[in-house]
C-alpha cells in the first residue's frame, strides 16, 4: 500500500467530476456507503487507542490480499495537517466524524483504491465505512462496487452480525444492512418553479431523506440536495437501491419538466439569469462560497438548457471542489483570511471559466 501524498496525486478521489455518468446534467454524483464493525472490539465510541490501532492493522493486513485495494493508498488522518484533513473533507472522501477531535483520531484512516472508485474509512463512528462515489445517477453500479469489497473483506474479517438485527452498528439508525445510498442532485428548476417543497415532502413520505452538500446538519447551497434512504433495516440492499433509483428517477423527471416549463413560460428571464450568473463568475473580484455555489447553479442550468455552450460540466464540478477554502489555501500554500479567500476564489473561478469562452447556444 502506498502512502498518501497530495502533491503527487492531485486528482486523487475526483474521478466523479468528469460528468460521464447517467443523467449527469441533473445528478452530480452517487455515493453508497455501508457500515461494518468487527467482532471482539467495542464500537469506536468505547474503543481504546489500542483497540483502534489493532483494528487498523488487522484491516491493513487483510487489504494487502484484496484485489481492489492491494494497490490502494492509505491516509492516516493524524499524520495530516489540519488543512490536508479539510481537503479530504472538501472532496467528500472523509466524514467530519472521522476527523473529529474528541474521539482522538488515533488510527483513523482513509484507504482508497487507485484503480476503482472505492475505498473505506477505518475507525470512524463504525470500525469500517466502505464507500464508493461515482459520476451521475448510478446507484446500482455504485452499490455493486461496494458490495464486492464487502464480500472480500467479510470473508476474512469477522463482522459483528446478529441473526435478527443484521450488521450491528454503533448507532441503531444504521443497523441491518448498514447501507446508505445517496445522490447529489441539482434542482434549480424545482426551486424556481417553487415545487421543491412538495417534492421534498414527497420523498420524505416514501422513506427517503434529504440533506445539504456536506451531509447531516449542513445547509442547502447552490440548489444541491443530497437525497438518501432513511432506513437501513427491514429491506434488502437491492430493494433499498432500487427504491432510491425509482424515486430519484421521478425527481429527475420532475426537474426536467420544471426546466421545460421555465424555458417555455419565461425564456427571457431564465436566459438573463443564466448569463448574469456567468457574467458575475467571469468578472467578480471577490466571491463568497455560497454566492459562488448559487451562481454556478445558474451556469449549470444554462448548460443543461443549451443557453450556454461552455464551460463544460466538468469545469463546473472541478470549480465546486477546488474553489473551496482549504483547496485555495493549499494552492497558495498558506492560510488566508476570509477576505483573501473570497478574492482567491474569484481568481480561481475567473481563470477556470474564461479558459473556454462560451458563445450563445442554439
Amino acid at each position: 500500500m502506498i502512502r498518501f501524498d497530495l502533491e503527487s496525486m492531485p486528482d486523487f478521489g475526483l474521478g466523479w467530476l468528469d460528468a460521464s455518468g447517467p443523467s449527469h446534467d441533473v445528478v452530480l454524483s452517487t455515493r453508497v456507503r455501508i457500515a461494518r464493525n468487527l467482532q471482539g472490539y467495542p464500537f469506536s465510541v468505547r474503543a481504546k487507542p489500542s483497540d483502534r490501532a489493532a483494528i487498523l492493522s488487522t484491516v491493513r493486513e487483510v487489504l494487502q490480499r484484496s484485489a481492489p485495494l492491494a494497490d490502494g493508498v492509505i491516509v492516516e488522518i493524524d499524520q495530516l495537517g489540519e488543512r490536508q484533513q479539510q481537503i479530504l473533507l472538501e472532496r467528500h472522501l472523509v466524514s467530519r466524524e472521522l476527523l473529529k477531535e474528541e474521539s482522538a483520531p488515533s488510527a483513523a484512516a482513509l484507504i482508497a483504491s487507485t484503480s476503482e472508485p472505492v475505498g473505506l474509512m477505518v475507525n470512524e463512528e463504525d470500525h469500517l465505512r466502505l464507500q464508493s462515489l461515482m459520476s451521475g445517477f448510478n446507484p446500482r453500479q455504485t452499490w455493486r462496487v461496494v458490495d464486492a469489497l464487502d464480500e472480500e473483506l467479510g470473508s476474512e474479517l469477522p463482522y459483528a452480525f446478529h441473526h435478527e438485527f443484521g450488521h450491528l452498528t454503533s448507532c441503531p439508525t444504521n443497523c441491518g444492512t448498514g447501507l446508505r445510498a445517496s445522490v447529489l442532485i441539482h434542482l434549480p428548476g424545482l426551486v424556481l418553479t417553487k415545487e421543491i417543497n412538495k417534492v421534498l415532502q414527497g420523498i420524505s413520505q416514501v422513506g427517503l431523506t434529504f440533506r445539504g452538500l456536506y451531509g447531516e446538519g449542513s445547509e442547502v447551497v447552490g440548489n444541491l440536495f443530497q437525497v438518501s434512504n432513511q432506513t437501513t433495516l427491514g429491506k434488502s440492499e437491492e430493494d433499498l437501491i432500487d427504491h432510491l433509483q425509482k424515486i430519484v428517477a421521478q425527481v429527475v423527471d420532475y426537474e426536467q419538466q420544471a426546466r421545460s416549463i421555465l424555458l417555455r413560460d419565461a425564456p427571457n428571464v431564465i436566459e438573463d439569469k443564466v448569463w448574469r450568473a456567468y457574467g458575475l463568475l467571469c468578472h467578480a473580484r471577490a466571491l463568497g462560497f455560497d454566492e459562488m455555489m448559487n451562481l454556478l447553479s445558474g451556469v449549470r442550468l444554462g448548460l443543461s438548457l443549451k443557453l450556454l455552450s461552455g464551460p463544460s460540466v466538468y469545469v463546473l464540478n472541478r470549480t465546486m471542489v477546488f474553489a473551496q477554502n482549504a483547496h485555495l489555501e493549499e494552492a497558495r500554500d498558506g492560510s488566508l483570511s476570509a477576505g483573501e479567500l473570497d478574492i482567491q476564489r474569484a481568481n480561481y473561478v475567473r481563470m477556470a471559466l474564461t479558459e473556454a469562452e462560451p458563445s450563445a447556444g442554439a
Binding site: V45, P172, T177
Partner: protein, 166 residues
C-alpha cells in the same frame, strides 16, 4: 452572515427544516445554537436528541434498572440516552428488548432482510442460510432482467455449493 436570533454574531450553525410544508433554514451563532441545544452539530446532532428521547420513551425506569450495564463495555442506559450510541456489539443482546422497540420506530421493522453474513469460520447452518439468501437474490435479479448481476450471483452460489461439498 449574522445570527438570525441575536443578529450580532457570525452565524456558524445552519439548520434546514421543513415546517408546515415550507423549507426553512435558520442561521445561528454558536451561542444561540447552544441555547437551542444545537451546538456543534457533529457533537450533538438533532438525531442524537431524537434517539435519546426514543430511548427514554422506550424504557420505563423499571426496565432501565433491570437492563445493563453492558457486561462487556459497561455502557449504561444513561450513556445510550445521552449519546444515542451503543458501546459494542454485545449491547445489542443486553438491551435486546428495548432495542427492538427502538428499531421498530426508526426502521418500521426489526428483521434484517439483506445479505446474510457468514463469518470466516462458518458453520454448515450459516452456509445454508447464505445459500438460500443468494438464491432469493438471484431470483430477484432475473425478475429485474439484470442478467449481469444474475451471472455474478450464480457464480457466488456455485462457489458456495462447492465449498459445502468439500
Amino acid at each position: 452572515m449574522l445570527c438570525d436570533n441575536c443578529g450580532k454574531n457570525e452565524a456558524e450553525v445552519h439548520l434546514t427544516q421543513i415546517v408546515e410544508n415550507e423549507m426553512a433554514t435558520v442561521h445561528l451563532c454558536p451561542a444561540c445554537a447552544a441555547e437551542k441545544g444545537l451546538d456543534e452539530p457533529s457533537k450533538k446532532l438533532p438525531l442524537d436528541a431524537f434517539l435519546a428521547q426514543m430511548g427514554q420513551a422506550a424504557l420505563s425506569d423499571e426496565e432501565a434498572t433491570i437492563a445493563g450495564p453492558c457486561s462487556y463495555c459497561h455502557t449504561t442506559v444513561d450513556d445510550f440516552r445521552q449519546t444515542g450510541r451503543l458501546g459494542c456489539p454485545h449491547c445489542y443482546s443486553i438491551y435486546e428488548t428495548q432495542l427492538r422497540a427502538i428499531l421498530r420506530r426508526i426502521h418500521g421493522s426489526t428483521h434484517h432482510l439483506g445479505k446474510v453474513y457468514v463469518p470466516p469460520a462458518s458453520t454448515e447452518a450459516d452456509r445454508s442460510a447464505r445459500l438460500a439468501g443468494l438464491k432469493r437474490k438471484l431470483q430477484r435479479a432475473v425478475e429485474a432482467e439484470d442478467f449481469e448481476r444474475a451471472a455474478v450471483i450464480r457464480d457466488q452460489i456455485r462457489e458456495l455449493e462447492t465449498a459445502v461439498d468439500v
